[in-house]
């Protein structure tokens, strides 16, 4: 068996060439790597490593190829001369490769430290990015929330504003001192103030009585709310309105009272109606009682009067007995008049309805009373409507009503005189006529205003009035499906000031025939 060296020679030649090719291909990639990322230490190391390796590969491969070429061409002497040089270079390059790797040892530590920091920074950046993303999402969500809340708030604000402005009741806000900060239009209208230039109001101005305000404040402070508090408010003109007030206290974060918000409903109309209903009921009761009493008294009174008149024939006119019988007859007749008035009040007396011209009645009545009025220095002002439809009723009873009212007006002005205004108007839309008896007298005291229609209630001295005039008039007008409205003190036309005096407004519906004829004309 023989072992030829040829395979090793061929392997050496081809291997050397492949080594050169592969080392340069490797070098190319390290070059690309450091160009792509010049700051990367590892690529730098590999680049230097490959450079050294490539030089080593070239040196060794070239050396081997030269060696093979020289030996093949039988120039062994030349190779023996070059061999130490080639071997020395190879040794040097191997040491260089090792040195580069040792350099790696030191460099990689620094690189690791940097890499560690970089990783830490990368993680921190990633966390920051995640946090940023989360924040962005939250911000986006927050924006949506804010938008939704803003819409809700706008809707709520609109509802509140609508409620505040459109409420028919008074709505107000005030501070801890009771200064009204804001009041809606209905509230200002309730107090007769203009909403265009609202005044500076406070609860002190609003409440008519100090005790009412004190009770309100006490309840508000203790309970933190006030419910259905009946309050009397002062209007711009000084008149009083009755209201039902509910309020809630407003407190700051520490619970300190900083004001209140309140809603007040005007009960004046309701109170007046209630009062009128009570009065009507009372009148009805009194009327029934009066009718019973009058009926029972009327018969024996007639007998007393009849017997007194019969007995007068039995005694001479100059005798004392005759004179006594005259007194009995006169007083009995006075009693009969009272009984007749009571019957009229209770509508027990017969009535004959017909078309009545109120102007004619007023002219007749004024003709009778004018002289007496002049004696008391009372001037008469006639403000008659140009056209006043007839009403259906009892002319005699209506005449009595106007006599009663004018008498009362004269009584109110008899000391200092004054002006008696008789005004008639036709309310076409309501199909009512109004006859007003207005005096400039002393007016009706607020305390007795609700009692003036009570039977036997009078402010006149004993013997001057029975107290049945107004109650009888009330009954008559009610019998005519009308109303009597009392206004005292009176707000005269074209004047913003209240003037002492009384106005009695009688409203009676116009005749049905008049209505029919008008409807026929319109149709």
């Amino acid at each position: 068996m023989e072992m030829y060296m040829l395979p090793s020679v061929i392997t050496d030649i081809i291997g050397s060439q492949l080594m050169i090719i592969l080392s340069f291909l490797s070098l190319r990639y390290t070059f690309l790597l450091i160009r792509k990322d010049p700051d990367n230490f590892l690529w730098g190391f590999l680049h230097y490593f490959c450079i050294t390796l490539a030089i080593f590969a070239i040196s060794r491969a070239v050396g081997h190829m030269v060696k093979q070429a020289l030996l093949i061409s039988d120039q062994k002497e030349i190779w023996q001369m070059l061999s130490p040089l080639s071997g020395g270079v190879n040794t040097l390059l191997m040491i260089s490769v090792a040195a580069v790797t040792i350099y790696y040892h030191k460099g990689v530590e620094g690189y690791r430290a940097i890499q560690k920091k970089a990783d830490s920074l990368r993680r921190a950046n990633r966390r920051l990015e995640e946090a940023g993303t989360t924040m962005k999402e939250m911000n986006l969500h927050l924006e949506e929330m804010v938008e939704t809340r803003t819409q809700d708030l706008a809707l709520s604000e609109e509802k509140f504003r609508n409620f505040f402005h459109n409420s028919k009741d008074m709505v107000f806000f005030c501070d801890e001192a009771g200064i009204i900060l804001d009041m809606n239009k209905a509230g200002l209208e309730m107090l007769d103030y203009s909403d265009k230039n609202p005044p500076h109001l406070s609860l002190n101005h609003l409440f008519s009585e100090e005790s009412g305000l004190k009770d309100f404040n006490t309840t508000l402070t203790s309970q933190r709310f006030v419910e259905d508090f009946e309050a009397e408010f002062v209007k711009k003109d000084g008149s009083i309105i009755y209201s039902l007030l509910s309020a809630t206290a407003l407190a700051d974060e520490k619970g300190k009272l900083i004001g209140c918000e309140g809603i007040a409903k005007d009960l004046t109309r309701l109170k007046t109606m209630t009062s009128q209903m009570i009065s009507t009921e009372k009148m009805a009761s009194v009327g029934q009682m009066a009718a019973g009493v009058a009926h029972e008294i009327n018969t024996p009174l007639g007998i007393i009067l009849g017997y007194a008149q019969l007995m007068k024939d039995d005694f001479p006119p100059e005798s004392e007995t005759f004179e006594n019988l005259v007194v009995v007859e006169r007083q009995s007749q006075a009693c009969r008049k009272i009984v007749a008035d009571l019957l009229k009040f209770s509508r027990q007396s017969a009535s004959s309805p017909q078309d009545v011209d109120i102007h004619e009645i007023l002219i007749d009545v004024l003709a009778i009373v004018e002289h007496n009025l002049h004696l008391d220095h009372i001037d008469i002002v006639r403000c008659f409507a140009e056209e006043l439809p007839v009403v259906t009723g009892d002319e005699e009873k209506l005449r009595q009503v106007f006599v009663n009212l004018i008498n009362n007006a004269q009584h109110a002005m008899e000391d200092e005189g004054g002006v008696l205004t008789i005004r008639t108007t036709y309310l076409e839309e309501e199909q009512m006529i109004t006859a007003s008896i207005i005096d400039t007298g002393t007016g009706i005291d607020l305390n007795i205003k609700n009692r003036i229609f009570d039977p036997f209630f009078t402010t006149k001295s004993v013997g001057k009035g029975t107290g049945l005039g107004l109650s009888v008039s009330y009954g008559i007008i009610e019998d005519h499906r009308g109303t009597i409205i009392v206004e005292s003190p009176v707000m005269y036309e074209n004047s913003c000031q209240l003037t002492p005096g009384t106005a009695m407004h009688i409203r009676i519906p116009v005749s049905e025939q008049k209505k029919i004829s008008e409807e026929g004309q319109n149709g």
Binding site: V9, D12, S26, L32, I72, M94
Partner: protein, 153 residues
Amino acid sequence: MRKYFILPCIVLICCILLPEQSMALQTHSEPEGIYVHQMAHVLYMAALGYLFWDTKRSTFAGQGWVYLRIFCVLTILWNFLAVIGHASSSHLRPEDFTHVNGYLFSKVNMPLTFVKVIYYAAKLDHLLAVPAMLFLYLSLRSFYKDAVKDGDN
């Protein structure tokens, strides 16, 4: 104090006047070259061993590092083979080879010994060196591809 000054002066004068005795320049005999070369191989192996160990213990991830470690292993084996080859050649004599028909047809004379076999195997060292370089090339190509991919991301 004085003796500390005189003694160094005498040594210095002797070194200047009697250079042969001071052995200032060391002569380098013939085997030194092969020793240095062998030590360079050992140093090379040690460096690659360290590189292998360090890249393995590191957190460097990717196929490129695996290829690099294969390169290290193959190159260490090549160095080892080269060291053995150099060592074996020093034990062979010109009579162990025959160059009858020129260098290309030279052959190892019989009988075959262990040293001769080792020498012959060491002559085929490119069978280790070329694959080692191939793995280095693959490793660097893999690094580059990963870098490009990371850059795109």
